[in-house]
Every structure is written in C-alpha cells, then in structure tokens.
C-alpha cells in the first residue's frame, strides 16, 4: 500500500518546485506555509487522482487548508473504494 502522506508531499513538491521538503508536515498551511494557491491545488489534486486512481470531489477539495486535510480526503476516498 502506498504511503498517502509521502505521495501528497511528492505532489506538492511537483507543483511548487522551489518548495523546501522539510516544511511539508501534516499541519502545514498550504497557502501561508507552502505557497500553494488554488491553481496549484488543482494540479496537486490531478496528480494524486492519477497516483491513487480515484476522483477527488471538488466540494471536499474546497475546504482544504493543510497538508493533513489532503491526506484525510484521500484516505477517506480510499476507504470508500476498498469498502
């Protein structure tokens, strides 16, 4: 099974190549801490949808503020998928 957090981190670093990886922690704020804006987040979501072969609903992505939020949305979706 893929490590969700690691994949999220990879997707974030891909969207913002200048990102310092050590800053990518669960509680990090996407916009304020990682300089990931709404357009980057769409790209991050597309990457993760491909990696996990799932669809991330737009309404759930809208409420995302931290790295941990992305991880939670994906884990919930994976659970639905496997269940």
């Amino acid at each position: 099974m893929m490590d969700v957090f690691e994949e999220v981190k990879k997707a974030l670093c891909k969207a913002n190549p200048g990102l310092d990886e050590s800053k990518v922690v669960s509680g990090a704020l996407l916009k304020d801490d990682l300089d990931i804006d709404s357009l980057d987040l769409v790209e991050v979501a597309m990457t993760l949808e491909d990696v996990f072969s799932l669809t991330l609903p737009e309404d759930e992505m809208e409420n995302i503020a931290t790295v941990g939020d992305i991880v939670s949305v994906i884990e919930a979706r994976l659970k639905v998928k496997s269940g």
Binding site: N16, P17, G18, L39, D40, E43, E49
Partner: protein
Amino acid sequence: MVTGYGAVTPLGLNVEDTWRNLVAGVSGVGYISLFDATDFKVKIAAEVRGFDPADYLDATTARRNDRFAQFALVAGMQAIDAAGLKVDDTNRYNIGVLIGSGVGGLDALAEQLDVLKTRGPTRVSPFLVPMMIADSASSQVSIKMGIRGPNFGLISACATGTDALGVAYKMIKWGEIKAMVAGGADGAVTPVGFAGFTQSGALSRNNEPQKASRPFDMERDGFVVGEGGAVLVLESLDYARYRDANIIAEVIGYGATSDAFHITQPMESGEAAAKAIELALAGVERNEVDYINAHGTSTPLNDASETKAIKKAFGDMAYKIPISSAKSMLGHMMGAAGAIEAIVCCKVINEGVIPPTVNLEHPDPECDLDYVPNVARDGDVRIAISNSFGFGGHNSVIAIGRYDGQ
C-alpha cells in the same frame, strides 16, 4: 521620454549584445532547435538561444509563464532596472504596463489541447488560461514589480510592439499616467504556429539560414520567424526630471492607420502606410528625418509596398534618408519587433551608427532607396522613425527624437 530599455532577442539576452551584433551585421537565424522540424517545409527560425528562465526567475514564476511571458518579464525587469525606476508606495499607482503579444501563449495552448484529446477535460492544466492569455505579459510584469497602474495587452499582429509604445506614449502625453513600461513579446516558434505561418505562404523557403532574411533584395521570398521580448520605460518629462532619470531619447510622434484591404496582404500602393508615417511626423519637416527603421520583412509584397509608402510620404527626400531592416538579422520577432526596432532607433540616435540591411546583394528595381546594404554606416541622426505593419492591414509608425535637455 525613453529612460530605460531591455531586450531578449535572437542576437543576445540584453540590448547591448543585440546592438553589437546588429552593427556587426550578424544573423540570428539558424535551424530550428525548439522542436523537431523534420516534417516541416521551413526548418529555420531566429530563436533566442541560451535563454534559461532560471537565470532570472524563481522556479515557480518560470514554470507558470509561457515562453513569451518569460521574455516579457526579463526584458521588463531589465528596462525598469536600466531606468533606475524604483517602484514603491509613492508611485506604484502612477506607473502602468502595456506589453503586447501577437499570439500569446501558443505553446501552452497546443500542449494542453493534446492533453484534452488524449486524457480528457479533467486533466487540462489549471494554468492553461493564465499562461495562454496574451495580457499575461503585462500582468506578470505588474505582479513581479508591484506596479498598480493600468496593465493590459494590445494586439495588432506584427505591429503590436509599435502600437503598444504609441498608446503608452499617448497615455503619458494626455496626462493619464506618469510612466509606462511598454513593448512586446512573442514566442511563436512552436509546431502549430510554424505550420500556420508556413501555410499562409509568408515564410521564406530558403533553407540557408543566414541568407533567408533578405529585405529589399530581388531574391527575397518571405520572412523568417523570430521570437523574443523588448520593453521600454516611457515617462513624462516632468516625472523623469523629478526623479532625476537619465533620458535616452524622446518619443515625438505616433501614427496608425489601416489598409482596409486584405487579411494577410498589404495594400500595394502603400497609401495607408504613408498616411501613418505622415501622422507620426505631424509638426516635423520631412528633411528633419535622418533614419528610417523599416518594417522590412523580406516578403516580396511588404518590401515593395513599404518602399512606395516611404516615397509617398517623403517625396524626393525618400532617396536621401538611410533606411535599414533589423529583421534582416533578428528575423521577425512578431509582437516584439516594433519594440526592439524602437530601441534600435534610440541606439542609432545616441551612438551615431546605423546598422545595415544584410543579404542585400541583388537590388530590386522596385526597391530603389538607400537601405544601408550589408555594412553599418556612421550617421548623425536626430530624428528616426520606425515602421511596423501587420496582418490585418495595421500600419503603425513611431517617431523618436534626440533629447537635447531643454
């Protein structure tokens, strides 16, 4: 007043290198390296070589900008720096940006069309629209420099750069704004853009790169696609004096007309183009003009009709004014052409040297003026004009004069 300029061109990544090569008669045309042109009838272009956006921009800014906007950003930063223009809370609403582009982010659009077709609409990049829109050249400079006056684009095909400068000049003249960062940028050396230009019949089929762009020569057979960005800082005399800026030259007039004739061909008589020259020179005696930077694309039609337009506007004086085409060396930088050519006029005025029209080996009886063939020439130039014409019948002319400090 022109107080600064910057450029990224096929002859250099700044104005000084570009100018040195222009005076030396160096051609910036070569075989296409930006894409595989094996299946293309035309395999040459004037590409900007050795340009790495990472040398100037952070990774995120570089990645989020199409090549044309990267050119605009770098040329804009150079121009603002050269003008010594500090943008801060005292002036950020008094400065505007107007950097035009003929085609905008063609590369970004083409790439995402492929994604749309192969992977579907949910995989198209959220950055497609901001990268594709032609006004992103101006917007990105505004964002990067913190400029909060008006920022917008302007499109008039190959006359874009000249029209952007002309409109910026008028905005300053009318007292609407103190300073404008204006010019043009294009990066159209992409497969789809290239295929389109080739099919329109406008490109040279000469596959000897350095010989292909030969304005006013009997054997000319089309233009060579170029790319790059060129930006000038224009400001009112009052503002330039207030901040003790170094004044390079002065924009003294701008004229624009339309052929109302054909979407790709110029009006053969050059009548409307002559009118644009006359408008740009309102209040200037014809014998005061010392240099003409021609549109000089190297297409059979343009060079003949431009020659007629110059004769119509200047009468017998036409034979006495040195004329040269920077496109003989830079290729056709599209939306950036008019802006780099205005910079060339500033350099000619200040350096007293007129760059040549290269590859002018077989004079065409229809083009019988003094085109400064092949070798640069000394010249005391006080007033210069730059002609730019474009698909759609645009005729735009800007007049630039020496600043005497009165």
